[in-house]
């Protein structure tokens, strides 16, 4: 259960302050797939970075299963990220000189997953996202965009995090592949009982979500 209250973030730049996230409050249940839509520059990525503890909010609270995260220090945020947060990016962001399997195992390593179980877990995850076993030892450059995003999803879910944050995961894929990826996200969210927040521009994708939130100039509203 994710409970966000009065989250606020302002970037101070030479050209003036940018109030990117304004007093955002919402809740999301375990296993729920929530779509976040909004115009470019509306604050979607900033919100995800706050929720994923990549950045600290100026104000507000982030409560995950009863644990307050907004006030963690930098090492505390790092540790929490390694175990409880998974990211999926538009650019896939796999490590280029590691194989698909090794990319998944990287997340397990940072989460201090038992050493002897990492291989089996990586295998299980790649299987779950539907990556051909013969492609598990390929480097990202030798995989299609869809396959890379599957590997990224396997990596994001590998350490069984509570929260998955996907920033335009279908943005670099064709429509059909994008659909498959969202379906995959929903399937894995269900099996793992994780909360998944997906930022997207695509209405069709957004419609596949359990709920839709819209952000406009840093202000978040539920779309009913």
């Amino acid at each position: 259960m994710l409970k966000v209250e009065n989250l606020d973030k302002t970037f101070r730049t030479g050209a003036g302050d940018v109030h990117a996230v304004r007093d955002v409050s919402f809740e999301a249940k375990d296993g729920e797939l929530v779509a976040i839509i909004g115009a470019s520059g509306s604050g979607k990525s900033t919100l995800l970075s706050l929720l994923g503890l990549l950045d600290a909010p100026d104000k507000g609270s982030i409560d995950l299963d009863g644990i307050e995260l907004a006030n963690l220090d930098s090492p505390g945020r790092t540790q929490f990220r390694s175990r409880q947060v998974g990211f999926v990016f538009q650019q896939f962001n796999l490590i280029p000189n590691l194989s698909a399997r090794e990319n998944v195992k990287l997340a397990l390593e940072f989460a201090h997953w038992p050493k002897n179980d990492r291989d089996a877990r990586a295998h299980e995850m790649l299987n779950l996202v539907g990556l051909d076993a013969s492609k598990a030892d390929r480097r990202p450059a030798k995989l299609s965009g869809g396959e890379q995003q599957r590997v990224a999803i396997a990596r994001a879910f590998a350490a069984q995090p509570q929260l998955i944050l996907a920033d335009e995961p279908t943005g670099s894929l064709d429509k059909a592949t994008g659909q498959k990826i969202v379906e995959l996200l929903r399937k894995v969210a269900n099996t793992q009982k994780a909360t998944v927040l997906v930022v997207t521009h695509d209405e069709k994708i957004a419609k596949k979500a359990d709920r839709r939130l819209e952000i406009d100039d840093g202000i978040l509203k539920e779309i009913t």
Partner: protein, 462 residues
């Protein structure tokens, strides 16, 4: 796969860059290794030369060139006082006299014709009016038998007793140890006697110093010779023994000050220093090049790592987003820079050793012009004693020492550029330390950059 293994793997990610970085590092490390070896070799050479110079300061009366060369003998009281100077461990004193056939029963083994033709004309010690030149016999009174002819005329060696015993340094007895050729010429054995200054002297030992001149002379206790020659408290030469090489120049100064204008004070040290100055400048050059190349290698690696970190900025952000602690990311980059350094060090070590010998020779011979001129000057000075003295000057303690210094050094000059280079464990150890320092420096700046990368950046499209 842990951070270290990832780092090593990353070192080979871009093979062109790997080769480039490793080659540049190898050149810098090879340069520093060869400089280190050159420096070691030159330092060794300097130390060997200094050690062979000896720790002595020679004292002789002002203007004294051989026994007949003039100058007022030194006062023994003054010379004895030198023992009280700091760092002086012993003072060897001698009083020498040339005994002509009227003063001794001994006959010199040296053929008169040979030396007479060379020195006799200038000297005043042939029988006056006689066309037959008779070589006198040299008697050296010494308080240090066994070291009296250190160096000898041929540039080395101490007299060795071939039979009998030496007299004690403080003996006042009418005894002598006789040079081997002189003994043979006069049929002397241990127990034989001869006369000198109208006194019967007993032979207690026969010595061999391996030098024609020295082996034609007689060693007697200092006190005995002073008494017989009616020259109490007189010394014609002294050798001050200094405790360590490092103190020779200070003792030289102190002795000069103590004796004032009455004596010539020489240590071969000063001359050696002058001759060694090109070697010292090679040492300085190699030290600076060594430091420079290590710093150069560090800068090369540092910039390469900085470039690599910047290039992988996004990747670092991803690692952070995945929950990698800074420590883990840093060790990954340290492993990468260490891999570059180790590869560079291995190649550089091999190349460095290979080029160290030619580099050392080149360095030494580049500054070698001054080396030979220095040596030449010194040799000329030694040669200068022939016209300076008014005649044949057989070696005395003091003169032998001066002569030996010159002669020895003259010989040495041929080998001053023959420097032996070698690489030992210390070189390897240095290479290792240098590599670690370079890798550490290279990674530190990278680490500082890594810490400043915000993981939130990965959410921004490029």
């Amino acid at each position: 796969m842990n951070a270290v293994r990832r780092g090593i793997r990353n070192a080979f990610r871009n093979s062109m860059r790997t080769v480039g970085v490793v080659v540049i590092l190898a050149v810098a490390i090879a340069l520093s290794i060869s400089m280190l070896i050159a420096r070691d070799a030159v330092t060794n050479k300097i130390n060997t030369v200094k050690a062979s110079t000896g720790t002595t300061v020679s004292v002789s009366p002002k203007g004294f060139f051989g026994f007949n060369g003039g100058g007022t003998p030194l006062s023994m009281t003054t010379i004895d006082a030198l023992l009280n100077l700091p760092n002086v461990t012993a003072v060897q004193e001698s009083f020498s006299e040339e005994l002509s056939s009227s003063k001794t029963s001994l006959t010199s083994p040296t053929p008169a014709g040979q030396l007479g033709s060379q020195f006799g004309n200038g000297g005043g010690f042939g029988a006056s009016g006689s066309t037959t030149f008779v070589i006198p016999v040299r008697v050296i009174g010494t308080n240090s038998p066994g070291n009296a002819v250190v160096g000898g005329a041929n540039g080395g060696g101490t007299e060795k007793l071939t039979s009998g015993v030496a007299f004690s340094p403080t003996s006042t007895a009418d005894v002598a140890i006789v040079g081997s050729t002189l003994a043979a010429k006069n049929n002397l054995k241990v127990g034989s006697t001869f006369t000198a200054w109208n006194t019967k002297i007993t032979v207690v030992g026969i010595f061999n110093a391996g030098s024609t001149f020295t082996d034609a002379s007689v060693l007697m206790p200092l006190a005995t010779v002073q008494k017989l020659a009616d020259a109490p408290n007189e010394v014609t030469s002294a050798t001050v023994i200094v405790n360590t090489i490092g103190n020779v120049s200070s003792v030289d100064t102190a002795v000069t000050k103590a004796l004032g204008s009455s004596a010539d004070v020489t240590s071969t040290q000063a001359t050696t220093e002058a001759a060694l100055s090109p070697l010292n400048s090679v040492k300085t050059i190699s030290t600076y090049t060594l430091i420079g190349s290590v710093i150069g290698a560090a800068i090369i690696l540092l910039l390469s790592m900085l470039m690599i970190v910047r290039e992988r900025r996004r990747e670092v952000g991803v690692l952070k987003a995945l929950g990698a602690p800074n420590r883990s990311i840093n060790s990954q980059f340290i492993a990468e820079s260490t891999t570059f350094t180790i590869l560079g060090a291995i190649v550089g070590f091999v190349v460095g050793i290979a080029i160290s010998s030619p580099i050392t020779s080149a360095l030494v011979s580049a500054s070698g012009g001054s080396t030979s001129s220095n040596t030449g000057g010194f040799v000329r000075r030694a040669g200068g004693f022939a016209p300076g003295g008014s005649g044949f000057s057989p070696p005395t303690g003091a003169f032998a020492n001066r002569g030996s210094g010159a002669f020895h050094f003259g010989g040495f000059s041929n080998t001053i550029t023959q420097i032996h280079t070698s690489a030992g464990w210390s070189t390897l150890f240095f290479a290792l330390i240098a590599a670690v320092v370079i890798a550490a420096l290279g990674s530190t700046v990278a680490a500082a950059t890594i810490v400043r990368i915000r993981p939130a950046e990965v959410l921004r499209s490029e």
